[in-house]
Symmetry: none
Subunit: 412 residues, 2 copies
Amino acid sequence: MLAAEIIAIGSELLTPERTDTNSLWLTARLNEIGIEVLLKTIVGDSGERLQESVGDALRRSDIVITTGGLGPTEDDITRQFTANAVGRELVYHEHLEAHLRERFRAWGREMPEINRRQAYVIDGAQILPNPNGSAVGMLYEEGRKMLAVLPGPPRENQPMFLEHVLPKLTKRAGEVFVRRRVLKVSGKGESAVDEIAAPIYTAYPEVQTSILFNKSEVEIHIAAKADDPDKAQAIADELADRLAAALGKAVFSTYGESMEEVVGKRLLELGETVSVAESCTGGLIGRRFTEVPGSSSYFMEGAITYSNAAKMRTLGVSAEILETYGAVSAECAEAMARGMREYARTDHAVAVTGIAGPDGGSDDKPVGTVFIGYAGRDVVRSIKLVLPGDRYLVRWRSSQAALDYLRRQLGR
Amino acid sequence: MLAAEIIAIGSELLTPERTDTNSLWLTARLNEIGIEVLLKTIVGDSGERLQESVGDALRRSDIVITTGGLGPTEDDITRQFTANAVGRELVYHEHLEAHLRERFRAWGREMPEINRRQAYVIDGAQILPNPNGSAVGMLYEEGRKMLAVLPGPPRENQPMFLEHVLPKLTKRAGEVFVRRRVLKVSGKGESAVDEIAAPIYTAYPEVQTSILFNKSEVEIHIAAKADDPDKAQAIADELADRLAAALGKAVFSTYGESMEEVVGKRLLELGETVSVAESCTGGLIGRRFTEVPGSSSYFMEGAITYSNAAKMRTLGVSAEILETYGAVSAECAEAMARGMREYARTDHAVAVTGIAGPDGGSDDKPVGTVFIGYAGRDVVRSIKLVLPGDRYLVRWRSSQAALDYLRRQLGR
């Protein structure tokens, strides 16, 4: 398989305020035709370092794409040092200068002399026209190696890449197609998932499988490659199905959907409604439900009962429960869910009460202690969790656990 | 001046779905103490390439920081190949394994055997403890060269960097002190802020001032450098004060605090309480209020009244208002705020109703139309906004506008 590297050029990309977004777009385009991006480099306006980076990249990989640094100002060093990296001279092209002068004239301006340097191109390189800017791109090929030198602004480099570079790469990559699936797993750690998944995915060495942990869920990313798109899809689907079967109910998403999308879709299927009573999550679960467009079809109402008075007034939690068991208890979570369901007249209700920290923990109920309550037509139940992490993570994980608990009650 | 390189490790960072945010944060911290970041590399889960990248980086720069790839799964190759890059072996540390087993036991789980590899450390490296995760970091020094190997999750690598790496680097960077201030501005665009701010900050050419737009607020970052910490602080404070005076009430934060922290602090000062009624924000405002530790002192309760039935039942919004003006109207927002305040018996209440999209807009009330209501002791009022952006941004900006409206009622 062909391997590529991307080099983003510009000191501004090394400051915390700016990110290189070109490489994300280029990576997506390259992956689509089965070319893997092995390394990305961001290099400032240092000619020496740029030359070295391009040289190293061409030694390691067949395809190297640089973006940025082709403008006319002092800082722009790409032209000279990419030429050095491939051991070629820059050559002056009269027609490029004429074209530049013409561009400026069309705007009613004289071409500044500094722009003249944009008429220099790596000897032997193909010139890539730039209808959206003054800097042409360059495509230099030698043997198996290809160096594409593109301007920085996305509206200049993207059309240039699509028109002049992508067709050549597609030809070289041959008929390789990549198809992806993403599974998401709740209630299991990264290593526990890997212990079950590894024996399965290692039997597919041609599929790239990676396992990632993301706040409160484990993601399995599958990328299958084949010389035919249907074949690639079939391999990805087969592996996804086998992993989903082995992991069972813990798999909540098989096409990369979020937990709130999965639960919302299930409620829509059932034609049923839900409400939520939140203490320690303070509105986070409601926010997640309503993040999904169209959620007003099934999400009716929420109560953020942060104080005990609110738990009693809105949800009818009894003073006895609060005194005997406390607000952070299975009894309170169940009473909250029951009260919410009755109050909002929904088919289902979930409730969360817990200690998000940093204060409020005790030996008996440490920070991270959370109770999730559920109330349905004939059932009220709850679970207790002790969640690791700081206030932000305990709250996020509580919201995830509540949505997941609801999902399991809904038979998904 | 000292030069550093950052290497982010992980195949997922080479896909278009994920970005490396660690390097932005690390760059900011390094710049603060006068260390320049010359190059950033993102490398996938290829041991050979990682080893080469670390080796090249250490040849070019004195300080190399890697993030990621220290987890327990198959993919995680950082430990072995950073050791190779510095020509050292990995050494097993019994106390690390014992500590890991203890961590898992505290969660009521057995340590999977695969985690045992996290007890291996580069020979001669300082072990950097990780209170927030299972992977310890490593700090390897040889002559002028320093290699810091940190875990990927920001909640793990940031505290580790601040506690164990930054003090060493500060010492080496020498007597340059950088002091920062961050102002936050609401209700004004980036260029409007710059028009007022530029004539002031350009008079401080030795101070690095940058203006950033962040979802719903404009941030002014000030970094003053001097050979004495008090001097640097005095310059930063002087500029911050002058900018705050020129921008007036639009400045809601002068030390980088979030809007919810500012409002919460003001309520604490006043000894007053608040409740919130949310329609289109669906819990987001409650979540933001309760993100602040100790918010239970002033945040009492919230109602997520997504359906009209809920607006009527809980908040006492009349059928007449809903029929005559609709749920998205000044009348409804004011009725919601009034009803919430009475229901929850708080000093203040805010309410939001609007159209977050993508559907539900009309010529009269396009997507982004939002009404914010406020109710206090003797006053009920509202404002109308038409907010740009997609569903996510409209909701976020609505929550920000509601908190800001409350802030202005509270005299801040």
